[in-house]
């Protein structure tokens, strides 16, 4: 670990971490609040050092299809955008999932729907975890809550994407993207050689040189019998991911009588709400899903036997609360508190919501 502590924005951390984890290519199109990702890459010029490609495409539709092309050859490729741009990418993301291609998508969410605002929001939870594009597919979704996690999750997302041959997404928000915090960047890992890529990705379109059968990368299958089998294979893979890759953090949960569930920047604000509530004698804890899919269903179900009520705190009109309710299955009341369209709640607002909605 290179122990040098730096101060940077979450978006900058994504860019530096991408270079350091041996990313082969970044394809993107600027949009607030994540433009610093590509700006940083363009400033650092990694094509001169690691050979990583950084390319500004003509649109988000192009970016995601460039990602598809790169991923098809077994390369470590990524894109980043914010909500409206990620909406444009949904067709391509479905194709990535259908062709079982590993890739990284970063969404630094802003207020919607439509072009909406440029301020922080978490209203793309449904889009990320429930589909977004068409078909029965899943994205491995990581939700960072600090600049350090923005840096750490790039490598992790790529590892998971390649392990399961599935696209992964980092679902961040305007707060985490724009704020500066201390960060220790991950160790530098060189890009894989062509031989290493072929060994790791025997399925990839790397040029067969008369030595093996063609590797065909496609999501198209005209025979429904075969397509059903493909889907069953995907579902088996998703089940495996659900069993092995759930990640979450518990804060002040041991003696909690009331539980907040929140991810990303909301989880940070909730942490302060817990501190304030505890100073007033309210035993408030926080469960922070780190993977939004697979969702920490079992962990939340466990707390349904311990706490009096739960509050899902999100910068949206009530999205993750549905998954919390499914996990709790009616055992205790589960309420939602949110602000919309780019307005961010303060810690006091959350404490008040606990008092009025749960107590």
């Amino acid at each position: 670990m290179s122990e040098e502590v730096k101060l940077m924005k979450g978006n900058e951390a994504i860019a530096h971490a991408a270079i350091r984890c041996g990313c082969d290519g970044y394809f993107g199109y600027p949009i607030t609040p994540q433009s610093e990702v590509m700006e940083t890459l363009m400033e650092v010029e990694p094509w001169k050092t690691t050979g990583m490609v950084v390319l500004q495409a003509e649109s988000e539709v192009s970016s995601i299809n460039m990602v598809y092309g790169g991923a098809a050859t077994g390369k470590k490729v990524m894109t980043s955008s914010s909500s409206p741009g990620v909406s444009l990418m949904q067709e391509g993301i479905s194709y990535l999932a259908g062709a079982e291609l590993p890739a990284l998508i970063v969404n630094v969410m802003r207020g919607g729907p439509g072009l909406g605002t440029i301020q922080p929001s978490q209203s793309d939870y449904f889009q990320t975890t429930k589909g977004g594009g068409h078909g029965d597919y899943r994205l491995i979704a990581l939700a960072p809550a600090s600049v350090q996690e923005m840096a750490d999750f790039v490598g992790l997302a790529f590892d998971l994407a390649f392990k399961y041959r599935n696209p992964a997404i980092i679902l961040a928000d305007g707060v985490i993207g724009q704020m500066m915090e201390k960060v220790v960047l991950p160790d530098f890992k060189p890009r894989r050689t062509d031989e290493e890529v072929e060994k790791q990705c025997p399925w990839a379109a790397t040029g067969r040189k008369m030595s093996r059968k063609n590797n065909i990368i496609t999501s198209l299958e005209l025979k429904p019998e075969v397509m059903e089998q493909n889907n069953l294979r995907f579902q088996a893979k998703y089940k495996q991911i659900e069993e092995n890759e759930v990640r979450y953090e518990e804060i002040l949960c041991d003696d909690a009588e009331y539980l907040l569930v929140a991810f990303g920047c909301s989880a940070r604000i909730c942490q302060k709400a817990c501190e304030i509530a505890r100073a007033e004698g309210i035993k408030l804890g926080l469960l922070r899903p780190i993977t939004l899919w697979p969702f920490p269903t079992k962990a939340i179900a466990g707390y349904a036997n311990k706490v009096k009520a739960m509050l899902s705190v999100e910068l949206n009109a009530g999205q993750m609360v549905e998954d919390v309710r499914l996990a709790v299955n009616g055992k205790v009341p589960v309420e939602h508190y949110g602000r919309l369209g780019g307005i961010v709640f303060t810690p006091d607002e959350i404490v008040n919501a606990v008092k009025t909605k749960l107590m």
Binding site: V5, L7, T32, P33, T117, I118, Q119, G174, V175, Q178, M179, M180, E181, K182, C265, R268, I269, C270, Q271, K272, A273, E275, V344, F345, T346, P347, D348
Partner: protein
Amino acid sequence: MKEEIIIAGFGGQGVLSMGKILAYSGLMQGKEVTWMPAYGPEQRGGTANVTVILSDEKISSPILNSYDTAIILNQQSLDKFEKSVKPGGTLIYDPYGITTEPTRTDINIHKINAMDACIEMNAAKSFNMILLGGFLKIRPIVELENVLKGLKKTLPERHHHLIPMNEAALKKGMEIIK
């Protein structure tokens, strides 16, 4: 030690960069740090503000209800943030462009004529460093030496020749704050 600070004024007054230099100074002093800007169109002329937190312990929320210190550079920001200073906290403001003075009696209010001072010094771009100097005189949470290191980290190398002027401005702020 934990200091929760809001700096607010017009876009272009150096609000965000003052916060950045303060954050880097904290980093140099080994503190935990968050710097959270209002990153909207404010940057291009509206009201801009940034929340800076320096702490010995890990920082939870970068978004706050109230502040230990507010550094205020225009009337709109005074109207918005005077009420958000914690009782016993500090409000520092430049009276230039302020039409309605702060009225609270349960906080410490300090006036600093930074605009006049920077014109006098012929160093308009060091306006924000005069304010930062004033703040550090009242709330000495980081050492001057670390602020200078922070300046060096924040300014691109081609502007490093401006560091002595900024140092002079920091010291001027420490002298003139009331």
